[in-house]
């Protein structure tokens, strides 16, 4: 078992035992992990919706950079990588061995 290090070419998906869904009661997105509940903010939700097991991290950054033209791409890349690394360290993301 090695640590998953997030880089631009990685294709990631939400780990199979993690549930990321909209909660009707609270009217917000929630992420459920073993004995842990995360309440991602609006920005994190936008990123997580793009983690689909198809796009790699660089492509996710491209999509966000196209959407938020006010922020430099490098800054978006840094924030996205840091957030995904933190979630990977918490066991919430899985790499896709096919890529």
């Amino acid at each position: 078992m090695a640590r998953l290090m997030v880089s631009a070419s990685d294709v990631l998906k939400i780990a199979p035992h993690i549930v990321f869904r909209f909660d009707d009661t609270r009217q917000r997105w929630v992420m459920m992990a073993p004995e842990r509940l995360m309440l991602p903010d609006e920005q994190a939700v936008e990123i997580l919706k793009l983690v689909d097991g198809k796009a790699n991290v660089g492509e996710i950054v491209d999509a966000l950079a196209a959407r938020y033209t006010g922020a430099p791409r490098e800054l978006i890349a840094k924030d996205v990588t840091a957030m995904l690394q933190d979630l990977a360290d918490k066991g919430c993301l899985a790499g896709d061995p096919a890529h």
Binding site: H17, T25, M32, P34, E35, L37, A88, D89, G91
Partner: protein
């Protein structure tokens, strides 16, 4: 003052108090509920549905040993269908791969498996059951085989804390992604055994240092949750994140509680899910509203800047150590009753007495 009451986040479903183990720190009440009084499958199904509609997101199937229930697979399925995130908290001494595969198919998301120590001798002595360690190893292998994520739970105390480094290595060997190192909390059976269980300050500091180093070394491989014993703290723990703020606990016979120990508090009539809906219980019962928020607090909590951080600490501990559930938790150094905690810490420096094992 009208306060907004948020819906609960998690439900602890104590399916049974029956358990093959006899741990001397068991958090079940000293007066255990009998199998004949347990909720039926139909009653639990109704409770799980009500919980989901109320806003509960996660359900922890616990006990006792939840695997004594033959309807566990059906209940896991019912929870999953209702959209609840299902977690099994088990001793791993009953059942194996066949059951776990069925649970995974029914929608179970995670297994938390307890060990009483990393090695056979220590584990079986503390659990009070010969052969327990071997069964747990087989169970961990079965969890891996069916592909469910595994957390190991190690309850630590003065008689096993020095082995914390080996416990961490053991968790990695067992393929766990999470390890909970939980110091004993002194209620029920554990309070009766406190002099045999409470670690010394030196022991605690050495263990904490090992855990901190391991967390950095194992980042991304093993997440370590570490709960320090509140007796050694300066401020109390935020028990249950505040009374009836996030959690609801259902006892085997259906009694709804803000935490699993709350039944010891006299004068509170904890409602049963047999006669009231979870919604009525959560929002309107006198017992759940009794210590909600800050209005119930006396000094030094009432004007304390931390009153909405630690919520006065633990109501059960206030009762057990100060004789009144409405007082400040005596582990707080500002509590007028703090001397009782200091006396317990002094006792921890003497040779430990023999365990009083849980019995049924």
């Amino acid at each position: 003052m009208i306060q907004r009451i948020d819906p609960p986040l998690a439900l602890l479903a104590e399916l049974s108090h029956r358990c093959p183990l006899r741990c001397p720190y068991c958090s079940n009440p000293v007066e255990l509920e009998r199998a004949s009084s347990e909720l039926s499958e139909a009653e639990w199904r109704r409770v799980l549905g009500e919980a989901a509609r109320l806003g509960v997101l996660q359900v922890h199937f616990s006990g006792g040993e939840p695997m004594v229930r033959r309807d566990l697979e059906a209940l896991i399925g019912a929870a999953s269908e209702a959209g609840l995130y299902g977690n099994l908290i088990t001793s791993g001494t009953l059942g194996g791969e066949r059951e776990l595969a069925a649970f995974a198919r029914a929608g179970l998301k995670h297994v938390q498996l307890s060990f009483q120590d990393h090695d056979r001798e220590g584990n079986d002595r503390i659990a009070g059951l010969a052969g327990a360690h071997a069964r747990k190893l087989a169970f961990a292998a079965a969890v891996r085989a069916v592909g469910l994520p595994l957390t190991l739970n190690m309850v630590v105390h003065r008689q096993n804390l020095d082995g914390v480094s080996s416990m961490i290595d053991f968790a990695v060997e067992q393929g766990a992604r999470r390890l909970e190192i939980a110091h004993v909390q002194y209620y029920a059976w554990a309070l009766a055994n406190r002099a045999a269980l409470l670690p010394t300050r030196d022991q605690l500091d050495a263990a904490t240092e090992i855990v901190e180093a391991a967390r950095a070394r194992l980042r991304g491989i093993l997440a370590i949750d570490y709960v320090v014993p509140d007796y050694h703290g300066v401020r109390p723990k935020s028990c249950m994140n505040g009374w009836a703020r996030r959690f609801i606990n259902i006892s085997p016979s259906g009694r709804a509680l803000p935490c699993h120990a709350a039944e010891i508090i006299p004068g509170l009539d904890f409602p049963s899910v047999r006669t009231a809906s979870l919604e009525e219980i959560w929002y309107r019962s006198a017992a759940f509203n009794r210590f909600r928020g800050t209005d119930w607090m006396a000094e030094p909590c009432r004007t304390c800047e931390r009153r909405e951080i630690d919520w006065g600490g633990c109501r059960c501990q206030a009762l057990l150590l100060a004789g009144d559930a409405a007082r400040t938790d005596p582990v707080c150094a500002l509590s007028p009753d703090h001397f009782v905690v200091e006396a317990a810490l002094a006792e921890a420096k003497r040779a430990p007495p023999a365990f009083v094992y849980r019995r049924f």
